[in-house]
C-alpha cells in the first residue's frame, strides 16, 4: 500500500497525495468490512458446529499441571494464570537467550576478524555449521544428548556444589533466611532437589536458541564492523588515539548504528523460535495454549492469545531497540 510519489505525503494536501489518502482510506474501510464479515462467519460457523466459543473459560480452573516456571501456579488456578505461567516461561528463556546469544555472537563475530588463523577458522566453522542446521533438529539433538547420555537422576555428576543428571542441573542458590545462606541441592528419594533447578527441557531450549542465534548475530557484528571504512581507523590513529580508544570511540559507534536494526530482527526471531519449546516438552506459552486447547477445545481463542502474546513481546522489543538505535544513530550536524 505504498502511496505513489514520495513517502510521508500524508501531511501535504497536493492533489496527488490527496488521491493517495482517499485510496488508502477506501482500502482501510474495505479491510474493516472484510474483517467484520470474517468474524461474523467465524461466529456463525462455530455456533452451527455447536463448538463453545468466547473467553469465558479464562477464569475457570485449568486443572493441568505446569512442570516448571517462576509463576506459583497449581492445577486449581485459572487458565489466565496458566497462560501467565506460560508467558513467564517464554520470557525467561527468551531474555536469557537474547543476552547469551548477543555475548556469544559478538565474540564469534569479532573472532572471525581476528588476525589469529586458528581463532578465525574456528569462528568461521562455528558460523557455517550452526547457521545451516535447522533449529528444530538442533533442539532434538541437544535434548537427546541431555536425556540419553547424562547419568540417571539418582547418580548425578557433582561439579562443585552443582549436580548434573537426567533430572537437569541443580546449583546452590543464595537465599534469605535470617541472614544470607546458600541453599544447597540435596539428594532426595527421586534425585536431587533444592537450590536453583534447571530442567533438561529448559537447558536444551536455551542452549539451542543461543547457539543458533549466535551464529546469525556473529555475521551481523562482522558485517557491521567491516562496513566502517578503513580510513576511519587510520584517521583515529592519525589523531593519536590508541587502538583501544580508536575502537571504542570511532569504530564501535559507527558499527553499532549498522548493527542495531538487523540485531533487532534476531532478537524477535529468537523470541518467536522459543515456540519450538513444544517439541521438547518445555512449558512455554504455545505449549500451555496447546494443552488448554485440548482441555477446553477453544482453539480459536487460545491461538488468539498466543498471537497477542508474541505481538506484545515483539512490539516492546522493537520499541526498545528502536530507542537504542536512535541513540547510536549518526547525528548529522
Amino acid at each position: 500500500m505504498s502511496p505513489p510519489g514520495r513517502p510521508r505525503t500524508s501531511l501535504s494536501w497536493s492533489t496527488r497525495s490527496g488521491r493517495a489518502l482517499i485510496v488508502q482510506g477506501a482500502l482501510l474501510a474495505l479491510l474493516a468490512v472484510g474483517a467484520l464479515a470474517l468474524w461474523r462467519n467465524v461466529e456463525g460457523a462455530l455456533a452451527a458446529r455447536q463448538i463453545r466459543s468466547g473467553f469465558g473459560f479464562i477464569t475457570e480452573p485449568a486443572g493441568f499441571d505446569i512442570g516448571e516456571g517462576p509463576v506459583p501456579y497449581t492445577p486449581r488456578d485459572s487458565y489466565l494464570l496458566a497462560f501467565a505461567a506460560g508467558v513467564a516461561n517464554t520470557l525467561r528463556v527468551s531474555l536469557l537467550g537474547v543476552v547469551l546469544a548477543t555475548l556469544l555472537g559478538t565474540l564469534i563475530g569479532v573472532g572471525r576478524l581476528s588476525r589469529n588463523l586458528l581463532v578465525r577458522a574456528g569462528c568461521t566453522a562455528y558460523v557455517e555449521v550452526l547457521r545451516n542446521i535447522p533449529l528444530i533438529i538442533l533442539l532434538f539433538g541437544i535434548y537427546l544428548v541431555l536425556t540419553e547420555l547424562l547419568p540417571d537422576a539418582m547418580e548425578p555428576v557433582v561439579l562443585g556444589g552443582a549436580y548434573l543428571s537426567k533430572g537437569g542441573l541443580q546449583v546452590p542458590l543464595p537465599s534469605w533466611d535470617h541472614g544470607w545462606a546458600l541453599e544447597r541441592p540435596e539428594m532426595g528419594p527421586f534425585g536431587v532437589s533444592g537450590g536453583l533447578s534447571l530442567t533438561p527441557e529448559f537447558l536444551a531450549l536455551l542452549l539451542g536458541l543461543t547457539l543458533s542465534t549466535a551464529a546469525s548475530i556473529a555475521e551481523i557484528v562482522r558485517s557491521g564492523v567491516l562496513a566502517v571504512p578503513n580510513g576511519q581507523t587510520e584517521a583515529a590513529a592519525a589523531l593519536g588515539l590508541t587502538p583501544r580508544q580508536g575502537t571504542r570511540l570511532v569504530l564501535l559507534p559507527q558499527a553499532l548504528r549498522i548493527i542495531v536494526p538487523p540485531m533487532t530482527s534476531q532478537f524477535l526471531n529468537l523470541t518467536k523460535n522459543s515456540s519450538l519449546a513444544v517439541a521438547i516438552g518445555y512449558p512455554d506459552v504455545v505449549s500451555i495454549a496447546n494443552t488448554a486447547i485440548n482441555q477446553n477445545g477453544q482453539a480459536l481463542e487460545c491461538i488468539l492469545v498466543i498471537m497477542a502474546v508474541y505481538l506484545s513481546i515483539n512490539l516492546v522489543t522493537a520499541l526498545l531497540m528502536n530507542l537504542y538505535g536512535r541513540r547510536v544513530a549518526l547525528v548529522e550536524r
Binding site: 452451527a48 492445577p75 540417571d152 537422576a153 515456540s275 516438552g281 496447546n290 482441555q295 477445545g297
Partner: protein, 343 residues
C-alpha cells in the same frame, strides 16, 4: 510466527473449520463417504493394540477394527479406509474441520468433550483406567510412594488432569514433564527423564510391549480414573452418528450371538435362530433403517470379526500386550459390555 508442524495442524484445522461457509456443514457424511469410496478414519499415531502399523505396513488394532467395520457396513469392503494418524492435540480439530469422518483413537468420553467440542461419542469400545509405570529398579510398588517424583505425561489428555487431581487430593507434590506426542513422551520416559509414566493402563502395556526388555518395567496396581474409550463423530449428522453407534453395537451383538469370521457363512446359510437371522439380514432388513443394505452386519463379521475376535487379535493374552478381558467382557460374562439389541 514460527510454529512446529504439530502445533500448526490444529491451527490450520480450526481456521478451516471457522472459515468454511456454515452451509457446508449440512452435507451428509454418508453420501460423502459413498461418493469418495473411502472412510476417513482418525486413529492414534502409535498405540499398539489400538492403532499401529504392523510389520507388513497394515494398520491393525481395536480402534482400527472399528474403522474397518464401518467401512465394511457402509462401503461393503473393510479395506476401504483411509487412516489419518493424529496426535492427542490434533484429534478434535481434525474431526471438527471435517478432515475425518470419524475419530477412533482411544479417546476418553467426558462431559466437556461431548458437550462443548461440537462432537458426539457414539459408544464405548474399551473400558480403561489410568495407571502408572515405573522402572523396576526404582523399587517403588505403589503410586502413593511417588511424592516429589518426576512424571511424564502427554499433553491434551484426560491423564494430565487426572494426575493433577490424584496428587492434589493427596496433597502430594510432583514434577510433570509434558510432551505433545505419545512417541516423544515414551522416548523421554524410557530414556530415564522421568521416574514414572502415566496414561491409560492399556497404553502403558502397549508402550511396554515395544521396548527391548519389557520385564524391567512395572505397571503399578493403582488405577486412578475411569477412562471409557470410544469413537466419536461430528455433530449435526444424526444419520452418520447412528451408523457408527450401531456398528459398534453390532460387534458386541455378534459376539453375544457367537457369530465369528469362521462360522458366519455357515450360520447365514443354515441357522434357524431368529437372532442370528436378524443380525445377518436373512429375515429382517435392519440396514434399511440406517440407510444401509441388508447385509451390513454380515459383512462386518465376515471381514472384521466380532468384538471378542478383535480383542483377542489385538490386545488379548496371545498378543505382546497380554491384557485380560477384565471389564471388557460381555455383560453376560460379568463384564460391562452391553449393547442394546439389534432389532
Amino acid at each position: 510466527m514460527h510454529l512446529t508442524r504439530t502445533s500448526l495442524a490444529p491451527l490450520a484445522a480450526v481456521l478451516a473449520a471457522a472459515l468454511l461457509p456454515s452451509a457446508a456443514l449440512a452435507g451428509k457424511t454418508l453420501d460423502a463417504v459413498k461418493a469418495r469410496g473411502e472412510v476417513l478414519c482418525g486413529v492414534n499415531t502409535s498405540a499398539p493394540g489400538f492403532s499401529a502399523v504392523d510389520s507388513k505396513g497394515q494398520w491393525v488394532g481395536l480402534d482400527v477394527d472399528t474403522c474397518r467395520a464401518v467401512a465394511a457396513a457402509v462401503l461393503g469392503d473393510a479395506r476401504k479406509v483411509k487412516f489419518v494418524p493424529l496426535n492427542s492435540q490434533q484429534r478434535f480439530a481434525a474431526l471438527q474441520a471435517g478432515e475425518i469422518d470419524l475419530l477412533s483413537r482411544n479417546t476418553t468420553w467426558t462431559l466437556t468433550r461431548d458437550a462443548s467440542l461440537g462432537i458426539a461419542f457414539t459408544g464405548i469400545n474399551y473400558y480403561d483406567g489410568q495407571g502408572f509405570m515405573v522402572p523396576k529398579k526404582l523399587k517403588v510398588d505403589s503410586a502413593k510412594k511417588l511424592a516429589n517424583a518426576t512424571i511424564c505425561v502427554q499433553s491434551g489428555t484426560t491423564s494430565e488432569k487426572n494426575v493433577a487431581d490424584y496428587f492434589g487430593a493427596a496433597g502430594v507434590k510432583y514434577k510433570s514433564v509434558v510432551f505433545d506426542t505419545a512417541e516423544a513422551i515414551q522416548a523421554a520416559f524410557f530414556a530415564g527423564r522421568c521416574q514414572a509414566l502415566t496414561t491409560d493402563v492399556s497404553d502403558l502395556s502397549g508402550a511396554r510391549s515395544k521396548v527391548a526388555k519389557p520385564d524391567e518395567w512395572l505397571i503399578l496396581p493403582e488405577v486412578i480414573s475411569k477412562e471409557p474409550l470410544g469413537p466419536s463423530v461430528r455433530r449435526g449428522d444424526d444419520e452418520w452418528f447412528q451408523i457408527v453407534r450401531w456398528v459398534g453395537n453390532f460387534l458386541l451383538e455378534a459376539e453375544e450371538a457367537k457369530l465369528t469370521q469362521a462360522n458366519v457363512d455357515k450360520q447365514k446359510a443354515e441357522s434357524k435362530d431368529p437372532v442370528v437371522q436378524r443380525l445377518l439380514g436373512v429375515s429382517e432388513d435392519t440396514g434399511k433403517l440406517l440407510g444401509l443394505d441388508k447385509e451390513w452386519g454380515y459383512r462386518i463379521v465376515k471381514q472384521v470379526g466380532n468384538y471378542a475376535e478383535s480383542f483377542e487379535r489385538n490386545l488379548g493374552p496371545g498378543t505382546p500386550l497380554g491384557l485380560p478381558r477384565g471389564p471388557n467382557r460381555l455383560w453376560s460374562q460379568g463384564g460391562l459390555m452391553y449393547a442394546p439389541p439389534i432389532r
